[in-house]
Assembly symmetry: C2
Homo-oligomer: 300 residues x 2
Amino acid sequence: MNNKVVLSEDAKRHFESYINLINVTLDDYLSVRGLPYQIVADACKYSVENGGKRLRPIIVLEFCKLCKGNIADAISFACALEMIHTYSLIHDDLPCMDNDIFRRGQESCHKKFGEDYALLAGDALLTYAFQIASNAGVPPAKTVRCIRALANYAGIFGMIGGQTLDIQNEGRKDLTLEELAETHRLKTGALFRAAAEIGCITGNATCQQYDAARIFAENIGIAFQIIDDVLDVIGNPEELGKEVGQDIENDKVTYVTLLGVEGAKKLAEKHTEKAIKALKTFENAELAIEGTKYLLGRTF
Amino acid sequence: MNNKVVLSEDAKRHFESYINLINVTLDDYLSVRGLPYQIVADACKYSVENGGKRLRPIIVLEFCKLCKGNIADAISFACALEMIHTYSLIHDDLPCMDNDIFRRGQESCHKKFGEDYALLAGDALLTYAFQIASNAGVPPAKTVRCIRALANYAGIFGMIGGQTLDIQNEGRKDLTLEELAETHRLKTGALFRAAAEIGCITGNATCQQYDAARIFAENIGIAFQIIDDVLDVIGNPEELGKEVGQDIENDKVTYVTLLGVEGAKKLAEKHTEKAIKALKTFENAELAIEGTKYLLGRTF
């Protein structure tokens, strides 16, 4: 990464322990063997284990911890959220959507398994997310609230709404900053909000903590997207693990085309500061703040 | 319908009142207006309101009632299940799957709205099903059990497993009766089982009632599929609202190719009898029995 922010050893250990827990649990859920219809299970596993950063489940666990909850209560929902994120990538890559044959440097799901099985793998992951969530082993009232958050933010009033706007925006040269922000608020931001909210639910957050988590998620969501746009212009493809210059090639309106590289960076910084300010309302938020700076410092 | 079984006025009223409640509730859930991404909401509504028989939600309500539950506790889950059924049809019709441009005599979702929006509409309905279920207004422990049933039966260990087998079976001339039955047990049967189980959960069924409901659902699922195969050979396209002869054209192994029309009818009758026997363990099952005979008497 072209990253000037270096994580402390403490922070590294902290986030690596989360990532290990998330990966081990995901692998456990996805290591189904000997099914007569094994190929779709294999396609699910392939896509989930295809090198994701696990950002959303990390946010779930971190907010649970910041609220002094037990992350064992949150891990199933964290994995469910990562499955929902992965299903959305599988379906987004399909020929009728973005038609991407690569994802994180590897063949996309439909390129490797065929379109029909990739479609079903996406459907399976979305459904499996709710199956896992319904078996999370926490009190039913909490489970229902987490499932509601997953469905609200992933559905038509959240991520799917954003994906629809994204399609509608194609080829529009007159897209405003407000319209761009609304698209990303839904397409990317909604799952960040789900992550923060589920962390709060499982951690028994106070009202004030819910508010702070929401503000964090909204701002980190925007900053994250802006940085993605910036990296598409100034990033190094080898470090990023994906091609750059795609937005310009596709003649896409982005934060960079609207604000320029420096303007976009400034806006990302503003939102990063707001996210960090929200974290400061929690005790012991040092590692979370460090992680946020690291994540959002990718270009600076 | 080419149906020798005629429903009594009582049974007609009974099932029509269910269908009305289901349709009004579905319409209520789906009548979202003024979204900036309205097209996907419209695609969802179009497909759900495209003339389905509402079999699965009727089974939910009927088993709730047979267990002396309150159907107000079951209606949200019944609608959620119908949404899951509809999403599966939208995705099944896509070019990368069955490539059907008609569904129930009308344009299929992707033909009318485009492939990208149809894909998202399917995803949205599946997600919305869990959103609705999580807001059903019944005690959380019950809600969690219903969501678990929805996800289990709709997912890779249920319907999606069956859809995968169906793809794998394509072009196989050596398909056995057992393999065909297993495919349908999952592809069609799983949602019938979900329906019966959710009816039982919302109706506070006894263990004996759960067993009877499961036996009913398993048998009605098989009988339903066999009759579909038979109607594809001897049915009247106008009465059915769809083309016939598709299975022969696609060189498909069906209950009819394996057993002949008469053999298939006999097997369907055997399963219908088992389903009705299971219903008889409930008090006041007369209308349910009549409905079952009507449904499964479509060819006889």
